[in-house]
Amino acid sequence: MIKPIFTQKATAGWRTLFLAIFSILLIILNLHYSDQFFVRKILSVVVAPVQYVVDMPVKLVHRARTTITSQEDLIKENQRLRAEQMLLKLRVQKITALETENKQLRALLASSNVLENKASTVQLISVASDPAKQEIVIDQGQKQHLKLGQPVLDAYGVFGQVVEVDPMTSRVMLISDRRSAVPVENNRTGVRGIVEGTGFVGNLLLVNVPKTADVRVGDLLVSSGLGHVYPMGYPVGTVVSVTTVPGEHFAQIDVAPSAHLDRTRLMLLLWG
């Protein structure tokens, strides 16, 4: 019998066993403390540069495009924006009147719902590479005092909520994620429901609506403010199809999100 000289394999076995146990321990700790887990916070700072590096070419192309634009185009765009601004201003005039009226009515009803929200803009820096998740990473975190569950909107509607706050970045779960549910009401009829994500961008489901309920294709669903995560009255999606299956209690209602979930780089973060 030859005495073994190279015992490297044996130590590799022990090391593997130790690390395997350690990984399971980490998973359990991570499950327990979820996003408050300090190891997660440290690692998020370590990997942040990689996320910025991946985002850089996109940013450069964007910048190059803006510098290359001709003056003529800029003038055209300026005119278009001016016209748009005029239209929006017109609408705002009406809204201020409506808002005061609404406030008076609410005062009469003795209800204390606040309609105005403070907002700040955030930038997307990375999209979750795990396709089972509908998450993005934004460029603000603990430093800007972001909070868990803070709602995020874009110019067109409800976008998602903050699910993890790290020192420099945060993760936002989109409303199309399978874990997401948004309490909504039908803008036409006022019927309440819940919109769930399916895991695919561009496809949401309005769930647990009885077959007899009045839901039609084209109905706009706005957030109802129940559940205290998403503020009241912002568009969530429009109904694209209503299917009733004989023998089922509920109709299957497909909803297309209002927010541009896979196209926006700039988003609004709402503050309580």
Binding site: Q8, K9, A12, G13, R15, T16, L19, A20, F22, S23, I24, L25, L26, I27, N30, L31, F37, V39, R40, L43, S44, V46, V47, V50, Q51, V53, V54, S126, V127, A128, S129, D130, P131, A132, K133, E135, V137, E164, R171, R178, R179, G199, V201
Partner: protein, 161 residues
């Protein structure tokens, strides 16, 4: 010099792991990091051992936002299996090596799938398994590039590992 190639290749793998891919194509993302770790574990087990493989998996967990330890565990098992198969890999013909890579990447996916089903969000589609095939398809190119970047192997690219 070798350390430089190792670090650069790992960095590139991390970047490839999070480059945005459109729609369903995201499921076909090859296991870039696993390929690079696998290459170095077999090429130089003294510099890249199972411990380093585990750390890389942990960083990938953080990057992808899954529970810490999931990728780390899968990476650890694959690296350990690779270190066991090491001598065989040296001698094996090229086609044999690629098929080992295919089975290792499916083992990796299987471990991740099980962990995800137990403690995370279950994986929604069967397209998940396509990543093994895409890994197998890009492996020869990755292998070739890594051989090019490997200071000791530039002389004989195809022959040994």
């Amino acid at each position: 010099m070798k350390l430089f190639s190792i670090i650069t290749s790992l960095l590139i793998a991390f970047i490839l792991e999070i480059i945005p891919m459109h729609g369903m194509w995201a499921w076909a993302r090859p296991l870039w990091l696993m390929m690079v770790v696998l290459y170095w574990v077999i090429d130089n087990p003294l510099l890249v051992n199972v411990g380093i493989a585990w750390c890389m998996g942990l960083l990938l967990d953080s990057l992808q936002g899954v529970l810490l330890g999931e990728h780390a565990f899968a990476m650890l098992v694959v690296a350990y299996l690779a270190s066991l198969l090491r001598q065989r890999m040296w001698a094996a013909p090229f086609f044999h090596k690629t098929s080992i890579v295919l089975s290792l990447s499916w083992i990796y996916l299987l471990i991740f799938y099980c962990l995800q089903s137990f403690v995370g969000e279950p994986i929604p589609t069967v397209w998940y398994w396509i990543a093994g095939l895409s890994t197998w398809l890009v492996w020869p190119f990755v292998y070739f590039l890594l051989q090019l970047g490997n200071p000791l192997k530039r002389g004989n690219l195809v022959e040994s590992w």
